[in-house]
Symmetry: C2
Subunit: 312 residues, 2 copies
């Protein structure tokens, strides 16, 4: 078992199976990554929200990789053991016109910065503290489709999956489409709720370490992934005080999610004196979208769960 | 503050604002309910699955009520404090042809019975134990629409919302459409995961107690409800061992939910030697559907979380 440090310059911004491997590793090896936040340096602490109007989309998603895992072949499963995360000092969350669950409600850019040196939480306001629970927003493999492909849409090989419980101790299973799997990761979040409703978590530069294994002959279909969360409760720092929950009923799960979040934003304004923009960001970085029931036709329930632990 | 025992004979099976109140209470009063399981006695322990083919739908959903809460008027919010539950000895879960998230995959009736006298868990198999975390599958109010209406579809006044975290200690907020609110409840579950994917939780006769309050002049739109979960973690008996998670990506949240559950059923068959029918039931009574991300267009992530604590 070897450990490798991936040179920080070894990044790419598109999925493309023609990109040469940045590193070749044996199954069982560990790779230490360090990646910039999702805009690749276009956002820096204190920059005005207008920076989000002029993003160069070709520089988004600086991903570390590709990692070639020896022995991985099409039809195998790549297992990624998620070993550790270290957020690098600061993060941001924002509203980007044209993106997000409520893109028609919020049309102006908006940005907030977070100090990630304060310990186990980071403040949205003095009395609103978000537990830090880091993960890679993007982990995936190159597919056998001819690229390049933008990273924002998840692909058959996963990628921008923004799944909050892929924390240290988790094991992610991904399909393999090409020899060596060609895995890449980055787009790290210090915290994010299920849904990532405003389109950002707390985006931050991050150091992280992953171990790679190959499960031979066990295929996963495209557009699927599977994982084990770490042993123990999945979000104890969020969970201990209970939740305020807003639920919307109706035949369209997407619309229900929108309405549940709208209700939560209204409550946060009224009860916690948050602006709509800050409330939307708080939903994105801390609240969870759950499908409460999907069988009582025609009106399914989608719920937004806000952890009351964030209010101090 | 008075306590009332609702006579067990005071049930109704449709939403209809013309049904006379079973009880009139003051704000702050407590009502002790006892209701049969969702089929109103058509299912009894040991009955064959074929009973699910011949259900009299007019006898489904025996709800205790209506409760007339004095002072509640259209435009107010009814607060229901959920005080306690006592499952009454046994429960069932089953597959009902034509219903459920995977109704096209499972077309035959199937039924399992559960012993609810064993303490804090109930067994699907000797080595698979489901924590008991009871709630009312149905809580709602009559609307100002002219009835009668079936209970299966949730209405503007909520009703069959099957929301697993409405446990003892929670406070539910519902809209009020008619004088006195006309609240009813029943359809109790000893356990259920978010989604209730096979269309039943562990359905059981239940004794439960609720307190009613009126929040004057605070309106909730129809097809919405809101609640505070009890203080503390929301599902600690499920949460302590981590989860196995299957996720499906794609533009349709409903299809993603189907595919995530299909993947989980496959895993339960392979790893836990469960039949597809038992695996589907285990998903319904113990696994949670979460929307991991709903912003990475066009491929949203829906995840099924199976608590590993159920495997002993």
């Amino acid at each position: 078992m070897a450990e490798h440090v991936l040179d920080k310059s070894k990044i790419h911004n598109k999925w493309d199976n023609r990109i040469a491997p940045a590193l070749k590793v044996e199954p069982g090896d560990i790779v230490h990554f360090e990646t910039d936040e999702v805009t690749g340096g276009q956002v820096r602490p204190g920059a005005p929200a207008s920076v989000l109007m002029n993003l160069d989309f070709d520089k988004l998603y600086p991903l570390g990789g590709p990692i070639y895992v020896k022995g991985a072949a099409p039809g195998d499963t790549l297992e990624v053991e998620i070993l550790s995360f270290k957020p690098l000092e600061w993060g941001w969350a924002g509203l980007i016109p044209g993106l997000g669950l409520l893109k028609d409600d919020f049309t102006e850019p908006y940005i907030r910065y977070f100090d990630l040196t304060e310990g186990q939480t980071t403040a949205l306001r003095d009395d609103i503290r978000i537990p830090i629970q880091p993960f890679c927003g993007t982990m995936g493999v190159a597919t056998d489709d001819e690229g390049p492909f933008d990273v924002l849409p998840p692909t058959r090989g996963a990628g921008n999956i923004d799944t909050r419980h892929l924390n240290a101790g988790a094991r992610l299973h991904l399909p393999v489409f090409v020899e060596g799997a060609l895995f890449s990761a980055g787009d790290c979040h210090a915290a994010q709720g299920d849904g990532e409703v405003c389109v950002t978590g707390i985006e931050c530069p991050m150091a992280f370490s992953l171990r790679f294994n190959v499960i031979k002959g066990q295929a996963i279909p495209g557009f699927r992934y599977r994982f084990f969360t770490p042993p123990g409760p999945i979000q104890p720092a969020y969970d201990w005080a209970g939740y305020y929950v807003t639920t919307a009923l109706g035949p369209d799960l997407f619309v229900n999610a929108q309405n549940a979040v709208r209700d939560m934003i209204e409550w946060l304004g009224k009860e916690k004196n948050l602006s709509p923009e800050d409330a939307y960001i708080l939903c994105s970085v801390a609240a969870d979208l759950r499908i409460s029931q999907i069988v009582d036709a025609p009106n399914w329930s989608v719920s937004a769960y806000m952890p009351l632990s964030v209010f101090r």
